[in-house]
Subunit: 316 residues, 6 copies
């Protein structure tokens, strides 16, 4: 397994570089005199950096593709707060030698700790068939492995390995508090719904190297994929009350809150209403936090313009 | 079985009435002196008419409820083009004695003929697993029985027994023509998608007496119910290609065309695009035709205001 | 002070009635023969009921107006689950003799207990000038008296005496939990913002008898009234940091989240984002709960249609 | 007349090029040392290609302008799937020597064959004044010449010489089928409306070289231009029933279906409703087909992002 | 000619009534015992009043229809600020005997004076072909007669005989001031556009008795009707510069400002921009003024809720 | 004080340049061989021009920053209608030596003349407390100094020193005319509202060098800042009628007309309605005029695409 010695966040201008990186973008460009060169983008778990290959671009272009990990030689140049790496030699690292954990950002809290917390919530469920349902999901090794790894989105919030788990856990911790705060809530339904609301995302994205949508992510989407997974698990445990299944389906279908955001139904139960709001809150708080974090070194009270929020965010 | 001798469309003012009707609305109202009376709405397969019970309203109110068929005595009074029936006596008809076909509007074309046409389309499917899938649906007696009976909507278009079948057949006839008209279409996928696009509606409505939404209609909706039915049938036939299943799910999910109309995905394949447009066209043409038909006797070039279309329609 | 012996929720059909009520609607209507009668609506803290005055309507009409409390004699008539009171005699109760607490709905939790909890939160504020600011508001007797009494809305959520206090307390309890849950939050700013976000509502409504908008409620609105109140209090304490004042103004201005809901700015700080979401959640949960409660006796799984939510709500 | 020997789709990297092309874009750019160069875009009926002029850019810039056909010498360079032509010498081809058919994309089906089919539809019209009206249009040589040439849009669908004719013919073939499918349709009105719905487009665009909007296209638009053309033709034939003219105007005005898409009236007749839907279907199917065709060589299941549809399209 | 002696605004409760009125609504209703009665609405130039016919309603119903003028006998009854007329006898007044000026509201300023002012503006136009165009319109007796009579809308603003003239004159007076205020405006184009912007409204409404939309008003609309009228007049004067015609068409087409309000083009010239804004201002000011005037006697600071403005208006 | 000898609009290609400019943008870029260079944008009161620093970019980059005025040596190069300045030497001009009037665009009409006109309007106010209020604002030296200098927007309309004053004066001149044109207007309220409607903009922008939003501009915005300024002035004069203050607040709050454009209330008084419309008209006319002016030298009938208006504008 390839282990990194130097991480992007530590590279200084003027240093020589001989290290491995994940390539997240690669484009052949064209100088004024017809000389081709390569613009690439390099990533590891600590950040991203631009790279350039000025010489023999056509040849190097054939050696690797977007999504590969490369071992590159070159030098870091700098202007202002930005570093750029001029690459003079490279080789593709074989997939078998790649430990993705070195190249992809990862949740701050430990994945196993978070998963253990999630399991504790599951064990607290009182309703037998809901606990059985959750066991159906989280005693399933394939689902569990993917669930520990998937990001919660491609670019908006919790965009890192373990992001889906972190987001889910954050949501159910908040839901748990709300069950003490509001009356008339079906706690087990609410927590189960919170745990499963985004479960379809494990198939919505590809996250073995660069994060992207899968084909079924684009054609079907995590909301409906989640319902299909739910139905399969319900079928496998038997004697699951139909009315509870219907409420759970409703909660999952409506968790985006409005048609405009892709929910085919809007929340019509108290539990569905609450899961929608807490999911929305948690996603947006994380998106604000990460965006503020990304620009923490700029000497401005404001972040750059955030395209999805359509605003500048005030850092204070 | 109760057989009707007189139908609503034939009742003339001044006539005595002794006939059975389905009660679609019932409200106890209140005259100026505190005297209660009943406003009811009566229906049979030929139309609807207002009714009034002036005497002993409290007592009569306990005898029947909305959705019942009653055998009523009274007289028809009239003003302008509207008839109203003053009821002086009645009894509830037992459900066992009711032939709903007498009380609910029904498709103009024969249901069995339409179903036979649908089966012919199914037999023309060349792709074995798609044909197997459709057999899975239409050799299922429960589904078939419901599919022959369900309306295509609660109030917008094809609102009659057999309406879903009529709409489905109309859509696939049009789709069939388009496969000759445009290039690059996967005919079998298109026709299969056309047949199944609204299949979830058999569970979205209740239509044993008054048409209404079912609980799962409101909580889950026909789009996702349809996907669940599809998944169940695919599971039962085995060896169904996953990529075809995904395209079929996409087509069904996106057939409302936009998020605003409840589709969690918008059409991204040629076949999904076409099914959406033909479904929309067929629903709206039927809605125009029925609305024009309903006001054919008014001496105006225009229908009354149509709330969903937000316009008056020109009858010419 | 007028004390009631009988409450609306306890009146049975057939009983004689001699009791005081708040009149929330009064309309002179017209029978077929030109005989006028009065439609009125009566209210006490337990509910509302329709009333009719059949005799001498013109004369009675002059005796009282909408918003008055009347002492009425008459009898309760009934049909189905609805009671109606036929009034044969009445007199206006002088304002001085009216204890509004008998006639208006009131928060379930005790107002003084809730206010004490609010004050506890204020005492926990660490930042001196924020604590001073809150003292400026809640040591102001006029503001405090109004704040304990105001509803949180005219018709959507927390529509009862003490509703604003209950909503505010619920919001800050939730905000308090979030300060433990998320990192990077300015707790004192968040709690202060939560306490003050709706403060302008004490002047937006009139709630001495029937709840309605005040003139400044319609012309200026609680968001800007709140800013004006804030500025006045800040001016009175001196040495309040301008940048904190600006963030607090921003939080209050943006708490409706979007332009469409009347915020002239959208949330651009983490604290403003969170207050908006928790305010929205708390309002909607209360609206769902109250609407479900209002129809708890109907034998349907569904509430009536909710106009603001544009949906039926599932009671389970 | 200039005849081409080599077409863009056949140019291979490394080849010398001496051929004529239509210039669709021309921009003077600026290298780091102040050296100007020309970015141009070249087109013929088989496709488009980028070009560069590195030497003497200022002088060459004066020799030709956007929209000209030039005879260019140079060489093809390549990277990945893209070709670029480095031009070292050129001359403008005089307009008189240009056969535009060589430089602009053209409908796949023969224009004369399509026009003959259109005329067949016209001859089948039974209503004398509608047939006379259509003769008024299509026996008018100027209109006919333009109608055979115009594209159906500037960039969305049927963007090629003969595109308007192809789209119109496709629409009326579909309308013809619908007259057999639905009841209550005025066939002659429907077909006439289908033929004329986009007639104003012959003046909305300029298409003598590069496709663009005309001044009246931007200021008046094809919908209203079409009405003006209709009125002129109606005036010239006399005795045209006013009520039919009004329905025809309505159909043409409302064929975009909604205000948002520039129709000043929404469809209020069955025929107007149908023409709108079929027009929309045909435009979108063509846009999907062309966009899929344009990316047929990419090794992805998906097209690039389509800006107007705001989605990726699945190629399967 | 029928001349009225008593006007609606002067009728007092308790008086006997023997006078002529325009019937603007007529509905046969139904008492509790099946006795029919007529609800009607009566109008003259000073206002409107409800009427009731209790006896022999079926017979009276055949004597007159909505839109007729009737000579009625009866008595005025009253409650609060509303008068109602109980009719005991009536006869239809023959159309030949009706002077509509007695029954329809009319502009406050004299129609002939306003028209003279309009003609003065026309005479000030310097550009010969624009002046010729306006003469073409306003020396046309049919157009002039209709233009003096038409309202400017069916229900929103200037809803009275002469309303279109009053609105047009108000708009051009304001436009005239703007030509002194802003630079770069083509005055003659602006004034001509202002005069003609709503000219199509003379055919959009029927206003011989009750104001309503005409068939072409609903199917074509005043914007496009106006263009057709313009084209006809331009054709008749010859040598009208095509570019000016195009700008004038654009101004008229775009005067509603946005697609949503039915303009097929949005303003793209300075003159079109200005006419749109002044037209909008003048319509809304009039609508506010009239709505405030209508509720001037209510003892509230606020008007009733205005449905189109979706707000209450503050009267001060 | 630095006085300029040469202005940007007069610089010709091929000339040597030794002159001072305001730097409005500065970005370090990167040539193909890793050589950094500076892209800058230079401005004076007559226009803007691109600049390049090819040599020693890293060093020069430290000498000045965006917003500085620099004294630069170099030469003008040109292509087509665009000039670019290649800079070979420069020094920062000390702030104390900078007369901003040389570097920022300024209103065409003289600022002192416009301000005198504004004061004349103020002196014509009859209502004592409104005149006192306006004196409170315009006898305040700090406010006056800022008001004479502020632009009316960052990029849309009146984007120049004195722009806010020019816009305000234009609006009140138009309002003054409307008081003669319409009845029922409170002239003093209208003029006062017109003068103050945008007063908060003096704190919404920074305009000491480059125009930008201030922190409070983004967090609070000119609408609410204006209310706060109003409240402060009202507090200082005493005895200001509360109902007038409320109407004035309403007018200022609602002057953007709709929620979507950031007004927390929509106009509910005649005066608020009128100020909104005239403000909107004046802003858009200025935006059209300036945009047309900016492209007056292009040989097209059309301006470039205007992003906010989402259209091309016709220059005629």
């Amino acid at each position: 397994m390839k282990v990194k010695a130097v991480y992007i966040k530590d590279i200084k201008p003027g240093e020589k570089v001989s290290e491995s990186f994940l390539v997240t973008e690669k484009n052949l460009a064209f100088s004024q005199r017809g000389a081709p060169y390569l613009n690439i983008r390099l990533k590891d778990k600590t950040g991203e950096v631009e790279g350039k290959i000025w010489e023999n671009a056509i040849e190097w272009d054939k050696v690797f593709k977007k999504g590969d990990v490369i071992q590159a030689q070159g030098g870091a140049v700098s202007f202002k707060s930005t570093i750029q790496i001029t690459i003079t030699g490279l080789r593709k690292v074989e997939d078998a030698d790649v430990s993705l954990a070195e190249y992809l950002p990862v949740a701050k809290e430990g994945i196993d700790e978070m998963f253990a917390d999630l399991m504790t919530f599951i064990e607290q469920i009182q309703t037998p068939y809901l606990k059985a349902l959750l066991h159906g999901f989280f005693h399933d090794e394939k689902i569990t492995a993917m669930f520990k790894k998937a990001p919660a989105a491609k670019g908006f919030h919790h965009v890192y390995i373990g992001g889906l788990l972190e987001h889910t856990l954050s949501v159910i911790r908040l839901l748990d508090q709300l069950t003490h705060h509001y009356q008339g809530i079906n706690r087990d339904l609410l927590i189960t719904g919170g745990i499963l609301h985004d479960i379809g995302k494990i198939y919505e994205y590809s996250y073995d190297s660069i994060f992207d949508y899968s084909d079924q992510g684009r054609l079907v989407g995590h909301i409906v994929i989640g319902i299909e997974m739910l139905d399969a698990k319900i079928a496998s445990i038997g004697d699951f009350p139909e009315y509870v299944a219907m409420e759970l389906r409703h909660l999952m279908l409506s968790h985006h809150g409005t048609y405009e955001f892709g929910s085919p139904k809007r929340p019509k139960t108290l539990e569905a209403l609450i899961v929608h709001h807490i999911d929305d809150l948690d996603a947006k708080v994380n998106a604000f936090q990460e965006f503020i974090e990304d620009s923490r070194n700029d000497d401005s009270h404001w972040t750059p313009f955030h395209k999805l929020f359509e605003r500048f965010i005030y850092k204070g």
